[in-house]
Symmetry: C2
Subunit: 220 residues, 2 copies
Amino acid sequence: MKEHKSISIADQIFEQLEHDILIGKYQRGEILTELKLSETLGVSRTPIREAIRRLEQEHIIEETSRGAVVIGISKEDLFDMYEIRMHLEGLAAARTARSITDDGLSKMKEVLDLQRYYVDKTDADNSDNSDNIKNLDSEFHRLLYIFSGSKAYYDTLLPIHKKMIKYRKASMKSHSRARQSLNEHEGIYHALEHHDPELAQKLTIEHATRARDSILEKEI
Amino acid sequence: MKEHKSISIADQIFEQLEHDILIGKYQRGEILTELKLSETLGVSRTPIREAIRRLEQEHIIEETSRGAVVIGISKEDLFDMYEIRMHLEGLAAARTARSITDDGLSKMKEVLDLQRYYVDKTDADNSDNSDNIKNLDSEFHRLLYIFSGSKAYYDTLLPIHKKMIKYRKASMKSHSRARQSLNEHEGIYHALEHHDPELAQKLTIEHATRARDSILEKEI
DNA sequence: ATATGTATTATTGTATACAATTATACCATG
DNA sequence: CATGGTATAATTGTATACAATAATACATAT
Protein backbone atom coordinates (compact mmCIF):
# COMPACT_ATOMS: atom_id res chain seq x y z
CA MET A 1 0.00 0.00 0.00
CA LYS A 2 2.87 2.37 0.74
CA GLU A 3 6.30 2.92 -0.74
CA HIS A 4 8.81 0.67 0.95
CA LYS A 5 12.14 2.33 1.48
CA SER A 6 13.48 1.02 4.77
CA ILE A 7 12.17 3.64 7.14
CA SER A 8 14.92 4.98 9.34
CA ILE A 9 14.90 5.11 13.11
CA ALA A 10 14.71 8.89 12.95
CA ASP A 11 11.58 8.67 10.80
CA GLN A 12 9.97 6.14 13.11
CA ILE A 13 10.66 8.32 16.11
CA PHE A 14 9.27 11.32 14.32
CA GLU A 15 6.04 9.52 13.50
CA GLN A 16 5.68 8.11 16.96
CA LEU A 17 6.31 11.42 18.70
CA GLU A 18 4.05 13.26 16.28
CA HIS A 19 1.29 10.76 16.90
CA ASP A 20 1.74 10.80 20.66
CA ILE A 21 1.65 14.58 20.75
CA LEU A 22 -1.35 14.88 18.46
CA ILE A 23 -3.45 12.36 20.36
CA GLY A 24 -2.61 14.18 23.56
CA LYS A 25 -0.39 11.58 25.21
CA TYR A 26 2.06 14.39 25.81
CA GLN A 27 0.17 17.34 27.23
CA ARG A 28 0.63 20.96 26.31
CA GLY A 29 3.55 22.44 28.25
CA GLU A 30 5.24 19.14 28.84
CA ILE A 31 8.98 19.17 28.22
CA LEU A 32 10.71 16.54 26.14
CA THR A 33 14.45 16.36 26.65
CA GLU A 34 16.69 14.58 24.23
CA LEU A 35 18.43 12.56 26.90
CA LYS A 36 15.21 11.28 28.39
CA LEU A 37 13.76 10.33 25.02
CA SER A 38 17.07 8.77 24.13
CA GLU A 39 16.95 6.56 27.22
CA THR A 40 13.27 5.75 26.90
CA LEU A 41 13.46 4.82 23.25
CA GLY A 42 16.87 3.21 23.44
CA VAL A 43 18.53 5.15 20.66
CA SER A 44 21.16 7.86 20.56
CA ARG A 45 20.31 11.55 20.54
CA THR A 46 21.05 12.00 16.85
CA PRO A 47 17.88 10.52 15.36
CA ILE A 48 15.86 12.08 18.17
CA ARG A 49 17.17 15.52 17.39
CA GLU A 50 16.20 15.08 13.75
CA ALA A 51 12.70 14.06 14.71
CA ILE A 52 12.46 17.05 17.01
CA ARG A 53 13.54 19.40 14.24
CA ARG A 54 10.69 18.17 12.08
CA LEU A 55 8.14 18.48 14.89
CA GLU A 56 9.41 21.96 15.49
CA GLN A 57 8.89 22.76 11.84
CA GLU A 58 5.30 21.56 12.18
CA HIS A 59 4.84 23.92 15.11
CA ILE A 60 3.61 21.22 17.44
CA ILE A 61 6.63 21.61 19.69
CA GLU A 62 8.80 24.59 20.49
CA GLU A 63 12.49 24.57 21.32
CA THR A 64 13.69 26.17 24.50
CA SER A 65 16.96 26.01 26.32
CA ARG A 66 15.44 23.52 28.73
CA GLY A 67 14.09 21.16 26.10
CA ALA A 68 11.31 20.86 23.58
CA VAL A 69 8.01 22.13 24.91
CA VAL A 70 4.89 20.42 23.63
CA ILE A 71 2.42 22.82 22.06
CA GLY A 72 -0.28 20.50 20.76
CA ILE A 73 -3.65 21.51 19.36
CA SER A 74 -6.17 23.51 21.33
CA LYS A 75 -9.92 23.67 20.78
CA GLU A 76 -9.54 27.17 19.39
CA ASP A 77 -7.05 25.79 16.88
CA LEU A 78 -9.56 23.09 16.06
CA PHE A 79 -12.32 25.58 15.37
CA ASP A 80 -10.06 27.62 13.09
CA MET A 81 -8.84 24.53 11.28
CA TYR A 82 -12.41 23.55 10.52
CA GLU A 83 -13.10 27.02 9.21
CA ILE A 84 -10.10 26.71 6.92
CA ARG A 85 -11.14 23.26 5.77
CA MET A 86 -14.65 24.48 5.06
CA HIS A 87 -13.20 27.06 2.70
CA LEU A 88 -10.57 24.92 1.00
CA GLU A 89 -11.57 21.31 1.03
CA GLY A 90 -14.53 21.84 -1.30
CA LEU A 91 -12.21 23.46 -3.83
CA ALA A 92 -9.84 20.53 -3.57
CA ALA A 93 -12.72 18.09 -4.04
CA ALA A 94 -13.89 19.94 -7.14
CA ARG A 95 -10.42 19.59 -8.61
CA THR A 96 -10.33 15.95 -7.72
CA ALA A 97 -13.67 15.40 -9.45
CA ARG A 98 -12.19 16.94 -12.59
CA SER A 99 -8.93 15.10 -12.69
CA ILE A 100 -9.24 11.79 -10.87
CA THR A 101 -8.45 8.67 -12.89
CA ASP A 102 -10.11 5.28 -12.73
CA ASP A 103 -7.12 4.05 -10.82
CA GLY A 104 -7.56 6.80 -8.27
CA LEU A 105 -11.24 6.05 -7.99
CA SER A 106 -10.60 2.39 -7.32
CA LYS A 107 -8.12 3.28 -4.59
CA MET A 108 -10.69 5.45 -2.90
CA LYS A 109 -13.31 2.78 -3.36
CA GLU A 110 -11.11 0.28 -1.63
CA VAL A 111 -10.81 2.53 1.40
CA LEU A 112 -14.54 3.15 1.45
CA ASP A 113 -15.34 -0.55 1.24
CA LEU A 114 -13.12 -1.27 4.20
CA GLN A 115 -14.66 1.57 6.12
CA ARG A 116 -18.09 0.17 5.27
CA TYR A 117 -16.95 -3.25 6.47
CA TYR A 118 -15.97 -1.95 9.90
CA VAL A 119 -19.05 0.20 10.30
CA ASP A 120 -21.32 -2.73 9.45
CA LYS A 121 -19.33 -4.96 11.76
CA THR A 122 -19.91 -2.60 14.63
CA ASP A 123 -23.60 -2.52 13.76
CA ALA A 124 -23.66 -6.30 13.77
CA ASP A 125 -21.69 -7.29 16.86
CA ASN A 126 -21.27 -3.98 18.67
CA SER A 127 -17.46 -4.32 18.62
CA ASP A 128 -15.24 -1.26 18.85
CA ASN A 129 -13.71 -0.55 15.44
CA SER A 130 -13.41 3.17 15.95
CA ASP A 131 -9.64 3.23 15.54
CA ASN A 132 -9.79 1.44 12.21
CA ILE A 133 -12.66 3.62 11.08
CA LYS A 134 -10.82 6.78 12.07
CA ASN A 135 -7.72 5.70 10.14
CA LEU A 136 -9.71 4.87 7.03
CA ASP A 137 -11.53 8.16 7.36
CA SER A 138 -8.14 9.90 7.35
CA GLU A 139 -6.98 7.90 4.39
CA PHE A 140 -10.08 8.88 2.40
CA HIS A 141 -9.31 12.54 2.93
CA ARG A 142 -5.64 12.06 2.16
CA LEU A 143 -6.51 10.46 -1.16
CA LEU A 144 -8.99 13.24 -1.88
CA TYR A 145 -6.18 15.75 -1.41
CA ILE A 146 -3.67 13.75 -3.42
CA PHE A 147 -5.92 13.25 -6.40
CA SER A 148 -6.70 16.97 -6.51
CA GLY A 149 -3.40 17.00 -8.36
CA SER A 150 -2.36 20.11 -6.47
CA LYS A 151 0.70 20.06 -4.28
CA ALA A 152 -0.39 23.33 -2.70
CA TYR A 153 -3.76 21.97 -1.61
CA TYR A 154 -2.21 18.74 -0.42
CA ASP A 155 0.51 20.49 1.57
CA THR A 156 -2.03 22.86 3.09
CA LEU A 157 -4.86 20.49 3.92
CA LEU A 158 -3.06 17.34 5.01
CA PRO A 159 -1.26 18.88 7.98
CA ILE A 160 -4.53 20.43 9.14
CA HIS A 161 -6.33 17.16 8.87
CA LYS A 162 -3.58 15.32 10.70
CA LYS A 163 -3.61 17.79 13.56
CA MET A 164 -7.28 17.10 14.22
CA ILE A 165 -6.70 13.47 15.05
CA LYS A 166 -7.35 13.74 18.77
CA TYR A 167 -10.74 15.29 18.22
CA ARG A 168 -11.75 13.12 15.30
CA LYS A 169 -10.84 10.10 17.36
CA ALA A 170 -13.22 11.24 20.06
CA SER A 171 -15.87 11.97 17.46
CA MET A 172 -15.67 8.49 15.96
CA LYS A 173 -16.42 6.95 19.32
CA SER A 174 -19.99 7.91 18.55
CA HIS A 175 -20.98 5.20 16.14
CA SER A 176 -23.89 7.16 14.70
CA ARG A 177 -21.42 9.87 13.67
CA ALA A 178 -19.07 7.24 12.24
CA ARG A 179 -21.91 5.85 10.16
CA GLN A 180 -23.03 9.27 9.00
CA SER A 181 -19.47 10.22 8.11
CA LEU A 182 -19.16 7.11 5.97
CA ASN A 183 -22.41 7.91 4.20
CA GLU A 184 -21.10 11.37 3.43
CA HIS A 185 -17.87 9.92 2.12
CA GLU A 186 -19.80 7.62 -0.15
CA GLY A 187 -21.78 10.57 -1.45
CA ILE A 188 -18.58 12.45 -2.21
CA TYR A 189 -17.17 9.38 -3.88
CA HIS A 190 -20.14 9.14 -6.23
CA ALA A 191 -19.72 12.78 -7.20
CA LEU A 192 -16.05 12.07 -7.96
CA GLU A 193 -17.02 8.98 -9.92
CA HIS A 194 -19.38 11.06 -12.06
CA HIS A 195 -16.76 13.78 -12.39
CA ASP A 196 -19.18 16.32 -11.02
CA PRO A 197 -17.08 19.10 -9.49
CA GLU A 198 -19.98 21.22 -8.23
CA LEU A 199 -21.59 18.32 -6.41
CA ALA A 200 -18.30 17.11 -5.00
CA GLN A 201 -17.58 20.59 -3.71
CA LYS A 202 -21.02 20.99 -2.17
CA LEU A 203 -20.98 17.61 -0.46
CA THR A 204 -17.45 18.08 0.83
CA ILE A 205 -18.28 21.42 2.38
CA GLU A 206 -21.35 19.89 3.99
CA HIS A 207 -19.24 17.02 5.26
CA ALA A 208 -16.72 19.35 6.87
CA THR A 209 -19.52 21.41 8.37
CA ARG A 210 -21.26 18.43 9.90
CA ALA A 211 -17.97 17.03 11.20
CA ARG A 212 -17.29 20.32 12.89
CA ASP A 213 -20.76 20.60 14.40
CA SER A 214 -20.58 17.04 15.63
CA ILE A 215 -17.32 17.73 17.41
CA LEU A 216 -18.34 21.09 18.78
CA GLU A 217 -21.53 19.85 20.35
CA LYS A 218 -19.52 17.12 22.01
CA GLU A 219 -16.71 19.33 23.24
CA ILE A 220 -18.57 22.10 25.04
CA MET B 1 12.54 43.74 16.30
CA LYS B 2 12.92 40.00 16.72
CA GLU B 3 13.52 37.75 19.67
CA HIS B 4 17.20 37.36 20.24
CA LYS B 5 18.16 33.88 21.33
CA SER B 6 21.57 33.15 19.86
CA ILE B 7 20.58 31.56 16.58
CA SER B 8 22.37 28.27 16.08
CA ILE B 9 24.42 27.26 13.08
CA ALA B 10 21.78 24.70 12.18
CA ASP B 11 19.12 27.41 12.13
CA GLN B 12 21.25 29.70 10.02
CA ILE B 13 21.90 26.94 7.54
CA PHE B 14 18.22 26.12 7.41
CA GLU B 15 17.29 29.69 6.65
CA GLN B 16 20.00 30.09 4.08
CA LEU B 17 19.16 26.87 2.27
CA GLU B 18 15.44 27.60 2.44
CA HIS B 19 16.03 31.04 0.98
CA ASP B 20 18.36 29.80 -1.73
CA ILE B 21 15.90 27.11 -2.76
CA LEU B 22 12.89 29.39 -2.73
CA ILE B 23 14.55 32.11 -4.79
CA GLY B 24 15.61 29.48 -7.30
CA LYS B 25 19.35 29.49 -6.70
CA TYR B 26 19.11 25.75 -6.44
CA GLN B 27 17.04 24.51 -9.34
CA ARG B 28 14.40 21.83 -9.27
CA GLY B 29 16.01 18.39 -9.48
CA GLU B 30 19.38 19.53 -8.20
CA ILE B 31 20.88 17.23 -5.59
CA LEU B 32 22.31 18.51 -2.36
CA THR B 33 24.61 16.10 -0.58
CA GLU B 34 25.53 16.54 3.03
CA LEU B 35 29.23 16.20 2.41
CA LYS B 36 29.29 18.86 -0.27
CA LEU B 37 27.23 21.31 1.78
CA SER B 38 29.43 20.52 4.74
CA GLU B 39 32.55 21.42 2.78
CA THR B 40 31.02 24.46 1.13
CA LEU B 41 29.65 25.92 4.33
CA GLY B 42 32.56 24.84 6.51
CA VAL B 43 30.56 23.04 9.18
CA SER B 44 30.06 19.42 10.11
CA ARG B 45 27.23 17.31 8.75
CA THR B 46 25.21 17.41 11.96
CA PRO B 47 23.70 20.88 11.68
CA ILE B 48 23.28 20.36 7.94
CA ARG B 49 21.26 17.23 8.48
CA GLU B 50 18.99 19.04 10.89
CA ALA B 51 18.42 21.82 8.38
CA ILE B 52 17.66 19.24 5.71
CA ARG B 53 15.10 17.53 7.93
CA ARG B 54 13.25 20.79 8.30
CA LEU B 55 13.36 21.53 4.58
CA GLU B 56 12.07 18.05 3.97
CA GLN B 57 9.21 18.70 6.36
CA GLU B 58 8.37 21.83 4.34
CA HIS B 59 8.27 19.71 1.19
CA ILE B 60 10.72 21.87 -0.68
CA ILE B 61 13.28 19.08 -0.81
CA GLU B 62 12.91 15.32 -0.94
CA GLU B 63 15.26 12.77 0.52
CA THR B 64 16.63 10.04 -1.69
CA SER B 65 19.44 7.60 -1.22
CA ARG B 66 21.62 9.80 -3.40
CA GLY B 67 20.99 13.00 -1.50
CA ALA B 68 18.36 15.64 -1.04
CA VAL B 69 16.60 16.53 -4.27
CA VAL B 70 15.40 20.10 -4.62
CA ILE B 71 11.69 20.38 -5.38
CA GLY B 72 11.08 24.09 -5.30
CA ILE B 73 7.94 25.93 -6.35
CA SER B 74 6.47 25.63 -9.83
CA LYS B 75 4.16 28.08 -11.54
CA GLU B 76 1.28 25.65 -11.09
CA ASP B 77 2.02 25.65 -7.38
CA LEU B 78 2.05 29.43 -7.49
CA PHE B 79 -1.36 29.59 -9.11
CA ASP B 80 -2.85 27.22 -6.54
CA MET B 81 -1.25 29.08 -3.68
CA TYR B 82 -2.84 32.29 -4.87
CA GLU B 83 -6.19 30.58 -5.07
CA ILE B 84 -5.77 29.40 -1.48
CA ARG B 85 -4.70 32.84 -0.33
CA MET B 86 -7.68 34.41 -2.05
CA HIS B 87 -9.96 32.20 -0.01
CA LEU B 88 -8.20 32.45 3.34
CA GLU B 89 -6.33 35.69 3.63
CA GLY B 90 -9.50 37.79 3.65
CA LEU B 91 -10.82 35.75 6.55
CA ALA B 92 -7.57 36.24 8.41
CA ALA B 93 -7.70 39.99 7.75
CA ALA B 94 -11.26 40.19 9.08
CA ARG B 95 -10.11 38.53 12.28
CA THR B 96 -7.18 40.88 12.53
CA ALA B 97 -9.50 43.87 12.15
CA ARG B 98 -11.54 42.56 15.06
CA SER B 99 -8.74 41.78 17.45
CA ILE B 100 -5.70 43.93 16.65
CA THR B 101 -4.41 46.14 19.45
CA ASP B 102 -2.94 49.62 19.23
CA ASP B 103 0.45 48.08 19.73
CA GLY B 104 -0.11 45.76 16.79
CA LEU B 105 -1.34 48.63 14.66
CA SER B 106 1.76 50.68 15.41
CA LYS B 107 3.98 47.78 14.45
CA MET B 108 2.23 47.47 11.13
CA LYS B 109 2.36 51.22 10.67
CA GLU B 110 6.09 51.14 11.17
CA VAL B 111 6.48 48.60 8.40
CA LEU B 112 4.22 50.57 6.10
CA ASP B 113 6.12 53.79 6.73
CA LEU B 114 9.39 52.13 5.84
CA GLN B 115 7.84 50.63 2.75
CA ARG B 116 6.53 54.08 1.82
CA TYR B 117 10.02 55.50 2.36
CA TYR B 118 11.61 53.09 -0.09
CA VAL B 119 8.87 53.47 -2.68
CA ASP B 120 9.16 57.25 -2.58
CA LYS B 121 12.94 56.98 -2.72
CA THR B 122 12.72 54.98 -5.90
CA ASP B 123 10.32 57.54 -7.32
CA ALA B 124 12.77 60.29 -6.43
CA ASP B 125 16.16 58.97 -7.49
CA ASN B 126 15.27 55.87 -9.49
CA SER B 127 17.36 53.65 -7.21
CA ASP B 128 16.61 49.95 -6.88
CA ASN B 129 15.00 49.28 -3.52
CA SER B 130 13.00 46.30 -4.68
CA ASP B 131 14.63 43.89 -2.24
CA ASN B 132 13.83 46.08 0.74
CA ILE B 133 10.33 46.65 -0.53
CA LYS B 134 9.76 42.96 -1.06
CA ASN B 135 10.93 42.17 2.49
CA LEU B 136 8.70 44.82 4.01
CA ASP B 137 5.84 43.55 1.92
CA SER B 138 6.39 40.11 3.41
CA GLU B 139 6.62 41.52 6.89
CA PHE B 140 3.29 43.31 6.47
CA HIS B 141 1.60 40.06 5.58
CA ARG B 142 3.33 38.21 8.39
CA LEU B 143 2.04 40.74 10.89
CA LEU B 144 -1.42 40.52 9.36
CA TYR B 145 -1.37 36.77 9.97
CA ILE B 146 0.05 37.07 13.48
CA PHE B 147 -2.45 39.63 14.65
CA SER B 148 -5.31 37.49 13.40
CA GLY B 149 -4.71 35.75 16.70
CA SER B 150 -5.15 32.40 15.03
CA LYS B 151 -2.33 29.91 15.06
CA ALA B 152 -4.10 27.87 12.40
CA TYR B 153 -4.31 30.79 9.97
CA TYR B 154 -0.74 31.80 10.70
CA ASP B 155 0.62 28.29 10.25
CA THR B 156 -1.35 27.87 7.04
CA LEU B 157 -0.77 31.21 5.35
CA LEU B 158 2.81 32.03 6.29
CA PRO B 159 4.41 29.02 4.59
CA ILE B 160 2.41 29.75 1.46
CA HIS B 161 3.46 33.36 1.45
CA LYS B 162 7.09 32.43 2.02
CA LYS B 163 7.08 29.99 -0.84
CA MET B 164 6.03 32.69 -3.28
CA ILE B 165 9.18 34.73 -2.72
CA LYS B 166 10.76 34.06 -6.07
CA TYR B 167 7.72 35.27 -7.94
CA ARG B 168 6.97 38.22 -5.69
CA LYS B 169 10.57 39.28 -6.05
CA ALA B 170 10.16 39.36 -9.81
CA SER B 171 6.87 41.20 -9.45
CA MET B 172 8.38 43.92 -7.28
CA LYS B 173 10.92 44.71 -9.96
CA SER B 174 8.05 46.55 -11.61
CA HIS B 175 7.97 49.73 -9.62
CA SER B 176 4.42 50.56 -10.61
CA ARG B 177 3.30 47.26 -9.07
CA ALA B 178 5.39 47.95 -5.96
CA ARG B 179 3.67 51.30 -5.60
CA GLN B 180 0.23 49.87 -6.15
CA SER B 181 0.90 47.09 -3.67
CA LEU B 182 1.87 49.62 -1.05
CA ASN B 183 -1.30 51.62 -1.68
CA GLU B 184 -3.32 48.47 -1.21
CA HIS B 185 -1.49 47.71 2.03
CA GLU B 186 -2.26 51.18 3.28
CA GLY B 187 -5.91 50.66 2.45
CA ILE B 188 -5.95 47.41 4.40
CA TYR B 189 -4.18 49.09 7.26
CA HIS B 190 -6.86 51.78 7.48
CA ALA B 191 -9.56 49.14 7.58
CA LEU B 192 -7.68 47.45 10.45
CA GLU B 193 -7.27 50.77 12.20
CA HIS B 194 -11.03 51.34 12.03
CA HIS B 195 -11.67 47.75 13.11
CA ASP B 196 -13.75 47.18 10.02
CA PRO B 197 -13.66 43.42 9.32
CA GLU B 198 -15.78 43.49 6.18
CA LEU B 199 -13.68 46.18 4.53
CA ALA B 200 -10.42 44.55 5.60
CA GLN B 201 -11.61 41.28 4.14
CA LYS B 202 -12.73 42.84 0.87
CA LEU B 203 -9.52 44.84 0.39
CA THR B 204 -7.32 41.89 1.26
CA ILE B 205 -9.04 39.64 -1.25
CA GLU B 206 -8.68 42.35 -3.89
CA HIS B 207 -5.03 42.73 -2.97
CA ALA B 208 -4.36 39.01 -3.39
CA THR B 209 -6.26 38.99 -6.66
CA ARG B 210 -4.32 41.91 -8.11
CA ALA B 211 -1.02 40.45 -6.94
CA ARG B 212 -1.87 37.22 -8.69
CA ASP B 213 -2.94 38.92 -11.91
CA SER B 214 0.17 41.05 -11.90
CA ILE B 215 2.39 38.01 -11.62
CA LEU B 216 0.43 35.93 -14.09
CA GLU B 217 0.55 38.52 -16.84
CA LYS B 218 4.29 38.73 -16.33
CA GLU B 219 4.98 35.04 -16.27
CA ILE B 220 3.25 33.80 -19.40
C1' DA C 1 26.68 -8.14 -26.81
C1' DT C 2 24.06 -9.05 -22.66
C1' DA C 3 23.48 -10.38 -18.36
C1' DT C 4 25.24 -11.32 -13.79
C1' DG C 5 27.96 -11.16 -9.94
C1' DT C 6 31.38 -8.70 -7.21
C1' DA C 7 34.35 -5.07 -5.64
C1' DT C 8 34.50 -0.26 -5.00
C1' DT C 9 32.74 4.04 -4.01
C1' DA C 10 29.46 7.48 -2.58
C1' DT C 11 26.12 8.64 0.58
C1' DT C 12 23.20 8.53 4.31
C1' DG C 13 22.23 6.66 9.25
C1' DT C 14 23.62 6.30 14.07
C1' DA C 15 26.45 6.65 18.17
C1' DT C 16 29.48 9.05 20.91
C1' DA C 17 32.65 12.56 22.61
C1' DC C 18 33.18 17.05 23.66
C1' DA C 19 31.98 22.20 23.69
C1' DA C 20 28.88 25.86 24.84
C1' DT C 21 25.14 27.58 27.03
C1' DT C 22 21.70 28.01 30.27
C1' DA C 23 19.43 26.95 34.60
C1' DT C 24 19.86 25.71 39.44
C1' DA C 25 21.49 25.39 44.02
C1' DC C 26 24.04 27.02 47.49
C1' DC C 27 26.77 29.97 50.08
C1' DA C 28 28.50 34.40 51.48
C1' DT C 29 27.60 39.10 52.47
C1' DG C 30 25.22 43.27 53.51
C1' DC D 1 16.02 38.28 55.07
C1' DA D 2 17.29 39.70 50.60
C1' DT D 3 20.94 39.93 47.23
C1' DG D 4 24.50 38.64 44.49
C1' DG D 5 27.94 35.61 43.01
C1' DT D 6 30.08 31.24 42.13
C1' DA D 7 30.15 26.44 41.50
C1' DT D 8 27.44 22.70 39.80
C1' DA D 9 24.41 20.39 36.99
C1' DA D 10 21.36 19.88 33.13
C1' DT D 11 20.70 20.51 28.47
C1' DT D 12 21.43 21.61 23.90
C1' DG D 13 24.94 22.36 19.95
C1' DT D 14 28.63 20.59 17.05
C1' DA D 15 32.15 17.49 15.33
C1' DT D 16 33.71 13.12 14.29
C1' DA D 17 34.03 8.14 13.90
C1' DC D 18 31.99 4.26 12.35
C1' DA D 19 28.06 1.35 10.38
C1' DA D 20 24.75 0.40 6.88
C1' DT D 21 23.02 0.95 2.53
C1' DA D 22 22.65 2.01 -2.11
C1' DA D 23 24.78 3.20 -6.52
C1' DT D 24 28.39 2.41 -9.76
C1' DA D 25 31.90 0.34 -12.39
C1' DC D 26 33.96 -3.42 -14.01
C1' DA D 27 35.10 -7.98 -14.97
C1' DT D 28 33.45 -12.50 -16.20
C1' DA D 29 30.50 -15.97 -18.18
C1' DT D 30 27.16 -17.25 -21.48
